[in-house]
């Protein structure tokens, strides 16, 4: 459903707007729109402009040191191996972490929505608890859980005979460690949304399927998943957008991209370039490239889903 259609759907019977109503309307939307414009849209437009300059420390000292460089920032970043590494890491995170998170959310949603489940509320609360926490706080806990010698995770793995893994020190395992943390933290929120979607599937559909002799798996495949598709798409798209913006987990958990940049994400690279080295123009260019990538990925997802429906 297009945005315009959604926006206009509330007009029931066309009626001429009274001038007093229009005045009131502007008074009501004014403050909110002003805030959004001033502190969100305007900075974004400024960021676009900034990305066309070489704003850095020298420019902070004296604005006359600022120079318009056109697309030079963009061409440089497209040739920067560190950017591509960050992009690879981020895509790895999205492509592996995204589906895993969604699948776990779906499984959890199916479990708590089952008619056989007693006390679903308790389980729902437990699964949602991680989503309520501050990432910084839980990252400290997970950092210790991941400790090669003193961590509970390696201890548990040791009990089934797996030798200790240096989760945060080994370049092969650092990103999986972050993925696991993200799944833990985010599956609850998605689960709630999917559970709501599940509840809105009409019972008669299931009955009809059962009458035809469909077992648990067939019901899932033929009734649940197709009916759940719009909600599922929503969850998938939101997760994808959020995961592309991966920043806080590597920032706190792996000391900003360690080991050896194996957990460096695009957003983290942007922060480092902008706030550590003060290449603000360059950092703004990175941010916009990220935005374009997210937009492309989202559009692709929605298109694929629509084609799947047809």
């Amino acid at each position: 459903m297009s945005a315009e259609a959604m926006a206009g759907s509330s007009i029931a019977a066309p009626r001429r707007a009274l001038p007093s109503e229009v005045r009131a309307a502007w008074l009501f939307v004014g403050p909110g729109l002003a805030i959004i414009f001033l502190f969100f849209l305007l900075p974004i437009a400024a960021a676009l402009l900034l990305s066309l300059t070489d704003f850095d420390l020298y420019a902070v000292a004296d604005w006359r040191n600022l120079r318009l460089v056109g697309f030079e920032n963009y061409s440089h970043l497209l040739r920067d191996p560190l950017f591509w590494k960050a992009m690879r890491n981020t895509v790895y995170f999205v492509l592996v972490g995204g589906p895993l998170t969604v699948v776990v959310s779906l499984a959890a949603a199916l479990m708590i929505s089952s008619r056989l489940t007693r006390f679903p509320g308790i389980f729902r609360t437990a699964y949602f608890a991680p989503a309520v926490t501050t990432l910084v706080a839980v990252a400290t806990v997970w950092r210790y859980l991941y400790h090669p010698r003193f961590g509970l995770l390696n201890h548990a793995l040791g009990m089934i005979g797996i030798s200790p893994i240096d989760w945060l020190g080994d370049t092969r395992w650092a990103m999986p460690a972050i993925i696991l943390l993200s799944i833990w933290k985010n599956f609850g929120a998605n689960m709630i949304i999917l559970a709501a979607g599940l509840q809105s599937i009409p019972e008669p559909l299931y009955e009809a399927a059962r009458l035809e002799g469909a077992g648990w798996w067939r019901q899932l495949r033929d009734v649940t998943l197709p009916m759940l598709a719009p909600t599922f798409l929503f969850v998938a798209v939101m997760t994808c957008i959020g995961y592309f913006q991966l920043f806080a987990e590597p920032f706190v958990l792996t000391r900003q991209g360690e080991p050896l940049n194996s957990t460096l994400s695009v957003a983290l690279l942007m922060y480092k370039q902008g706030f550590r080295f003060w290449h603000m123009g360059y950092a703004a260019a990175i941010a916009f490239v990220l935005f374009v990538v997210i937009l492309a990925a989202t559009t692709l997802q929605v298109r694929l889903a629509k084609r799947g429906e047809a």
């Binding site: 945005a3 926006a7 900075p43 400024a46 210790y144 949304i193």
Partner: protein, 273 residues
């Protein structure tokens, strides 16, 4: 009971998953009560050998934690109060008040939802500097005072308010402000509570923007103070855990208390896609 085997396995899976999910949080509490150094033993203990509150005491003293707690609570409350008000006003207007360009503006806002906020961080910082709001509470409050998502939530909910109700009030001579305060706000209570919870949680947990804008450590919020503690005291596991508990517990309890509304709110925002 029908299908006992399936029920058993289902509940087993549910319970195991639940335990695994809350395990890190439980260990966090356990470790925070352990004597110093105990958490870094091999094999790692789960229960404290004896319970001690020394780390909490030390945190309050060393970190000036009382001040930090106040900052987090103050900012979260201020942003919540102001943003609920502004979002409610705008959401209602988009739903029920006619004005030129309403549809186009709303559509534009929806499109802007895709923009990642990191894009705005750097110029926003420079803007705050121009306004002289760096290291001021307003630097955190102002940008949070209205959000597209908040306006969207309220608008979706307000659509269901019958027009006749509003028309009747207008005919009776009520001003728009009276209508808003007397009819809309009470009717929108569920969604407003949900929005308040969202916003409070979001502001309390927000790490990046306060990190950038609040350079004065008297104004640190909990996540920022915790991150700083983390930088220096990596060796002091138990104290770090105590800090984490203090950051997580208030909102966790708040959530447990108000979870019904939160869940409902998430549903309302999503299913109508």
């Amino acid at each position: 009971m029908k299908r006992p085997v399936a029920t058993f396995f289902l509940h087993a899976a549910l319970i195991v998953t639940a335990l695994l999910t809350i395990l890190p949080l439980v260990w966090m509490i356990m470790a925070s009560l352990m004597p110093a150094g105990e958490a870094s033993s091999e094999p790692p203990p789960f229960f404290p050998s004896h319970v001690t509150f020394e780390h909490y005491r030390e945190l309050f003293v060393r970190l000036n934690l009382g001040r930090v707690l106040f900052n987090s609570a103050f900012l979260a409350t201020a942003v919540t109060v102001l943003s609920v008000l502004l979002n409610a006003m705008a959401g209602y207007a988009f739903a029920k008040l006619r004005f030129p360009g309403r549809g186009r503006i709303f559509g534009f806002l929806l499109g802007a939802l895709v923009l990642p906020s990191q894009v705005a961080i750097l110029p926003l910082f420079l803007l705050m500097r121009q306004l002289g709001l760096i290291s001021s509470y307003w630097g955190v409050i102002l940008p949070g005072m209205a959000t597209i998502f908040g306006i969207f939530l309220v608008r979706q909910y307000a659509l269901s308010i019958p027009d006749e109700l509003l028309d009747a009030a207008r005919i009776d001579g009520a001003s728009e402000a009276r209508i808003f305060a007397g009819i809309i706000l009470p009717l929108c209570r569920p969604i407003l509570i949900t929005l308040a919870i969202f916003t409070f949680l979001g502001t309390w947990n927000d790490f990046f923007w306060p990190l950038v804008v609040l350079t004065d450590d008297a104004k640190y919020t909990l996540p920022v103070a915790l991150a700083n503690l983390f930088g220096e005291h990596v060796q002091d596991t138990e104290m770090m855990m105590a800090g984490s508990v203090l950051t997580v517990m208030p909102v966790l309890l708040l959530f447990l208390f108000l979870q019904r509304h939160y869940v409902q709110g998430l549903l309302m925002g999503s299913v109508k896609e």
